[in-house]
Symmetry: none
Subunit: 209 residues, 4 copies
């Protein structure tokens, strides 16, 4: 994943350097988290992946948690508009599911393109499943959105929390698999997941009426 540095406004040399350092730490953290997992990562691992000195880390972040949240926010900042568009344009449950899964799987693929090229295992160390920041926060976003959409289409009486859990669980687990296939094909995953989920929800709605 290559993050474009887009200085919002004119900056002095100093400010630009600062921005670049922050960026460097974030990118390094993302890389290392993906490589060895959040818990296994220590700050030295992150710093070693940059050209900075260890002390510099603390000029930007207080802890590993804070970098993690910054990455998450960063992802959310980029994913939220996509999801918002999905929500706004969705006419019915079907179009929502397709659009949402498409957005998620595509986003996931793009976020990990670098790791994919490097052959870096996306996640899942020995018996331990580590979410990348993207997945975690995106999950939360989807959960919230799905609730809204279900309400909108009059299926609010279904067990929204379980539907959300089911939808997210599918997305997560299938997302892992998708990233291991070559070529990585978000469309295939989207079609599969949306179709399954749609039929499932309709069936639940029928038996719950």
């Amino acid at each position: 994943m290559t993050t474009t540095i887009q200085p919002e406004i004119r900056m002095g040399k100093r400010a630009r350097a600062k921005e670049a350092n922050r960026r460097a730490i974030l990118d390094a953290a993302r890389l290392v988290f993906a490589r060895i997992g959040y818990e296994a990562t220590n700050i030295r691992d992150i710093i070693r992946e940059t050209n900075l000195a260890s002390g510099t880390f603390y000029n930007y972040f207080k802890s590993k948690e804070e970098v993690f949240e910054a990455i998450a926010n960063d992802s959310v900042k980029r994913f939220r508009p996509l999801l918002q568009k999905v929500r706004e344009e969705a006419k019915d449950l079907e179009s929502y599911l397709y659009a949402a899964y498409s957005a998620y799987f595509t986003f996931l693929a793009e976020e990990n393109d670098e790791a994919i090229e490097l052959g870096t295992p996306h996640m899942s160390l020995i018996g331990v499943r580590v979410d990348t920041p993207e997945m975690q926060t995106v999950s939360d976003e989807i959960a919230a959105d799905l609730e809204i959409v279900m309400d909108k289409i009059g299926l609010g009486h279904l067990d929204i929390n379980y539907i959300t859990a089911a939808a997210i669980g599918m997305a997560r687990e299938m997302g892992d698999h998708m990233l291991k296939r070559r070529p990585v094909d978000p469309n295939e995953a989207t079609s599969f997941a949306a179709k399954l989920m749609l039929a499932g929800i309709e069936e639940l709605a029928k038996s719950n009426r």
Copy 2:
């Protein structure tokens, strides 16, 4: 989860004490893993939860990994027969899905009854999802079984890996939610998941024919 200690054969006091200590460490590890997650757990945390001295840990296990595997093996040893029975008795896809989800959610609830009573959060620290040993290995079991069943009922041409991923993802995420609800209700979860999955697979089969 209360493990019954069932000495297979007559044991001396010494042998019984050894068995009890091993059990104590395993139970403590399970508890702490559930409480703060695998990675965050250190060996001191585990032995602190027992009446044993730190050195004693090493009389039984070489490392945290080894306890983890022992727990996993323990769980698998108990879950495998259930799953086997499910597989053998399943007449069709529907009965398989109901039986399998039932087995899983019930097992999960029982495994965690102690933690549930204590109010221990099942898993998921800040942004990090940690699989309990049960979930990890049981996932593998389900994956393998599901593949066999699908083959048997002539749906082998579907994308088994994605179906497996979807089914497992649903189970995992819904399982987490289930454990947070009071009362914990495996039947509810089972019915929900099986219905959703069944309709979904049938739809996929239809559109893929």
Copy 3:
């Protein structure tokens, strides 16, 4: 080195077993000391080399030091008579030096014959020189004896301590070398050392008169 077990007096079964255990520990200790050096040896290493349990060690010895001393005493007990004979039979300096070096190098070779066969490095780990008990105590014996002999032959005015140090240093260092040669040849070493030392002392006596 095979130590002959020579029960001094008639013993009961129990007493014989005790003697055998003590012997087993001593032999194991000797072996391990030779193999990895005194400091590097721990009690588990010694016990592992026997068929006994760790606790049993403490029925016979309080510590590693005590085993060491027991071994040393054992060696001394066997070497002292030889040295005594040398001292008694020595007519002059020459005969004393030959006999003493011969006794030492022969004893050293015999003490280490087992280790030599096994190819066990006699001593000297990385940069650290470890005396076997034999060498240490035998050194002391030689020191004392040499002093007596020198006095007897009227060279007491020479710097006995330095002569002793020189003689012992030669014996030690040459002993190490001797044990590394194949075949191990005590006679060769004896002749060499005695000749060198004799000429040296005579020269010192001359220039010090």
Copy 4:
């Protein structure tokens, strides 16, 4: 032993502090090794002797072995030129032996002047002889040099290895004694050792002709 810190080039405060810390650890290690022996020494003992924190040790050395080697290299670096000069200027065996023993005993005395003043026992714990780094590496140097010299003066047909062992053994053992005497007198030791060795070698050469 007082090591002069001679910053080759202008250094910043930081660089000087680093150098000083490294020096402090080396000096502390040397001291503790001399006091209680290499094997008995642990890293905490070393840093306790400095004003540094435990972690700092690992900024400079990976292990006890590494400090040991650094000390040894340090000694060698300072002793080698002396020995080289001895070798180059030696006209005959006699001058070589005097110069070499003088260099060694003088060096040994200077290396240990601090320990001597403090009354630190030079070495030798209970039955265990621990070489200081100096002695070990210097021994190797002498061995090599002696071989060259003997060859040069046409005594290569003698058993060089045994002569070397004898010369070194004498130096080592006499060195120990010398350090225990007050005042420490390298000249006395030199004269004694060289005279003894010279006569001895000449005698061997005669009887081996």
